[in-house]
Amino acid sequence: MEIGMNFKETELCLGLPGGGGDISKTSGKRGFAETVDLKLNLLHSDDSDLKENVDNSSSAAGEAVPLKDPVKPPAKAQVVGWPPVRSFRKNVMAKQKSEEATAAFVKVSMDGAPYLRKVDLRMYQSYKELSDALAKMFSSFTMGKYGSQGMIDFMNEGKLMDLLNSSEYVPSYEDKDGDWMLVGDVPWEMFVESCKRLRIMKGSEAIGLAPRAVEKCKSRC
């Protein structure tokens, strides 16, 4: 087995520039193997051409993350780490634009996952978009039981308690006061303002948050 020379073999793992496995030498702009971090790519809702790129032999070991077929990115898609502006400066400069959407990077951890991620909450307009993105980032996290709004139904105490007694994952966040809350209990904009970090934990662990969450929710309702 040769290494690295046979691009046809690597094609299954990696979408090459120009597609079709040949490196075309063009003088004009060409498609490039887009390295949009798929887990954050909200705009790619159609998964079918991704599946073609998945390496079959790796499916046994868990989800392989193929790179996308070369496609010009839509305007809003962000390539990770590009342009190369330091995240420190991004966050600080962003805070200054008082009116508009600015960056709100928060760390996201999931119990059991080996690494943290960072997300910019202002890239999403709703809890549903956030939960879709989280689902892509952390493959064992699904919000299937949450209903169409993509968030925990705080109105229904029974449902809430069921969820918290299960082994489903629930997203929680640390707010400005340092309290840990369940995600979804305040209007989206308020959440973005007050969220300092996210942690996806097992429902049964989140049970400790629930009384406070339910209380805070009750006082708001």
Partner: protein, 594 residues
């Protein structure tokens, strides 16, 4: 003739050698010189904290008083290095606490520093004077409090762009009342308010204070109090530069600036209210360095400001300056050496400001001493690059970021190969280069051929094939750091140039085409390299050998593989006993050619 040169004389001679390169050369002459040199090296620079271990360092250099060290790869600045990668300073602090009781200075960049480390520093080094934490993380203001409270002779505390968990501003109050030694304080990265009375008292009792960089939480109204207490300041960073528009505030601020006759550097300026800009005009005549990257000042105001700074040598500014502002810069500031223009809106495809390649061309024409450029823009042409190269052949650092990846020459739609080619061909002293835009293997041919002094190269979304990487690795004689993302470079060039990697500090490759098999092979062939595969998809064993790895970090080391890696990083085995290492005849031949 017996060796008759007394050691003491040699030691005195060596004490005049400041550069590490010279000292390293000296220590290779003979064992006796090696011994003498190692006992009198007091300042250490460790460019990669994993290239060597604390034990090895301490064993060789027993009398160290100042350490400077770097951790994470540069691309960590852009979120390309996952959290938990490493760069922990604690093992170093522990070892140095035991062996370097006279340590005075610690300078760290991109490292993880904990409160525990800061506390250990504060308690272990009686003569501790200088702490610089540049782009570090992992500590809180509690750690700073410990430093403030315990370091009797603290001269410098500089937290530039570090991520500090800001528990409270009270850390500043931990400086004892008899602390008068402070020369430099940079707390610009902190979020919360510090105790203002404590700050005032501290500033007032430190007569040697030369650098004071406040954080955003210090309001403009408080500025006069501070400046009056430190009229000797040379570098000053304001807090928020905004207040209600009131004549009394304005005149107080203006008067305070005028009292500081030694000011050479200004920074800060968060939330700028344009009406207050003229308040600093009195300082402009002497200003050599201006950092306005947090200041949303529009072009006309910038033009006025800059035209008052004829001695400006270093300008960091947002692209609000526009081409017009850069023309004014070129006309007024003939001493300009360094220009950095940052994007105000980096994620917008459309330009929000009238800044093009023309601005940079103007500066290259008008500023004869220009040698260091970092420029973000949305269009570029070969013609402009060629002009810049011809104007400024003494350029040393050139970093160009065209916001759209793989953007061609906007006039001809061709790649920017010839433009960057002109840069490397004309600028023979070039030490650092970052490229962007549409680039083929051609540009790498130029680089390999001409960029003989190039030490650091950053490449993104460029090239067509392994030939590109091969040109760089085989041609750039001075290359120390190479960082590559999203380029179609694979196994062939890497393996063919394996020996080159030992002459460099490090190589970073992410989203390229280097296979797991090649990584293993490289590690086996080059035991003095650590070949680290970073892959968040799980162990590379779970995928075919030909599958490209997500990220790769290769660096030379005498410390062996590191032991503090997280789950998603694997160091390739150096043990060549595995027969599977030689995966094909072709690979063996390649290795033989290297």
């Amino acid at each position: 003739m017996a060796y008759s040169f007394p050691e003491e004389v040699l030691e005195l001679v060596l004490s005049f050698l400041r550069s590490d390169r010279d000292r390293n050369a000296v220590s290779l002459v003979c064992w006796s010189w090696y011994e003498i040199e190692r006992w009198c090296r007091h300042r250490l620079f460790i460019g990669n904290c994993y290239a060597v271990s604390p034990e090895i360092v301490i064993r060789r250099f027993p009398e160290v008083r100042a350490v400077e060290m770097k951790g994470k790869p540069h691309f960590a600045d852009f979120n390309l290095v996952p959290e938990g990668w490493g760069g922990y300073v604690q093992p170093w602090i522990r070892a140095m606490a035991a062996s370097y009781p006279s340590l005075e200075e610690i300078r760290l960049k991109r490292m993880v520093v904990t409160d525990e480390s800061l506390d250990l520093i504060a308690r272990s080094f009686k003569y501790f004077k200088v702490l610089v934490l540049s782009s570090c993380e992992g500590f809180t203001t509690d750690g700073l409090a410990s430093i403030a409270a315990n370091c009797r002779n603290l001269r410098e505390i500089d937290l530039r762009e570090s991520e500090v968990e800001d528990l409270s501003g009270h850390w500043l109050s931990h400086f004892p009342d008899n602390c008068t030694s402070l020369v430099s304080l940079n707390m610009s990265c902190l979020g919360s308010e510090v105790s203002f009375p404590a700050l005032e008292r501290l500033v007032g009792r430190c007569p040697s204070l030369r650098t004071l960089q406040l954080n955003r939480a210090v309001p403009l109204e408080k500025l006069p109090n501070l400046l009056h207490r430190a009229p000797q300041l040379v570098e000053f960073g304001t807090g928020a530069y905004s207040a209600e528009i009131r004549p009394d505030i304005y005149s107080n601020v203006a008067e305070a600036f005028s009292v500081c006759k030694q000011l050479r550097g200004l920074s800060g300026f968060w939330d700028v209210v344009p009406a207050y800009i003229p308040a600093m005009y009195s300082a402009c005549a002497g200003i050599t360095s201006l950092d306005l990257i947090y200041a949303a000042i529009q072009s006309p105001d910038l033009v006025k400001l800059i035209s008052l700074c004829p001695r400006l040598q270093c300008l960091w500014v947002l692209d609000y300056i526009e081409d017009a502002g850069l023309e004014a810069l070129a006309a007024s500031c003939k001493d300009l050496q360094e220009l950095r223009v940052f994007p105000s809106d980096p994620f917008e495809a459309e330009a929000n400001v009238a800044l093009t390649e023309q601005g940079l061309v103007s500066v290259s024409e008008g500023c004869p001493k220009l040698q260091s450029v970092l420029y973000f823009c949305r269009q570029m042409s070969n013609a402009a690059l060629i002009t810049i190269a011809r104007n400024r052949p003494e350029m040393v650092r050139f970093r160009l970021c065209i916001i759209e990846p793989q953007a061609p020459d906007y006039l001809t739609l061709e790649p920017l190969d010839t433009g960057f080619g002109a840069i490397v061909e004309n600028c023979k002293q070039l030490r650092r280069l970052s490229m962007s835009g549409l680039l083929t293997d051609r540009v790498f041919e130029y680089i390999g051929k001409h960029a003989k002094k190039l030490e650091m190269l950053s490449i993104a979304f460029a090239g067509d094939s392994d030939m590109g990487l091969d040109h760089v690795l085989s041609g750039c004689d001075s290359l120390r750091k190479l960082e590559i993302r999203d380029c179609p470079f694979g196994d062939k060039a890497l393996l063919a140039n394996a020996a080159k990697l030992e002459t460099m500090r490090s190589l970073w490759m992410s989203s390229c085409l280097v296979s797991y098999g090649a990584c293993k092979l490289l590690a086996q062939k080059m035991p003095r390299l650590n070949v680290e595969v970073i892959d968040e998809r799980g162990h590379p064993n779970s995928r075919p050998e030909t599958c490209p790895v997500e990220k790769l970090y290769i660096y030379r080391t005498v410390a062996g593989r590191r032991v503090d890696m997280p789950d998603f990083i694997w160091t390739m085995d150096k043990d060549a006993g595995n027969p599977e290492a030689f995966v094909s005849n072709g690979a063996v031949e390649m290795v033989g050619d290297a």
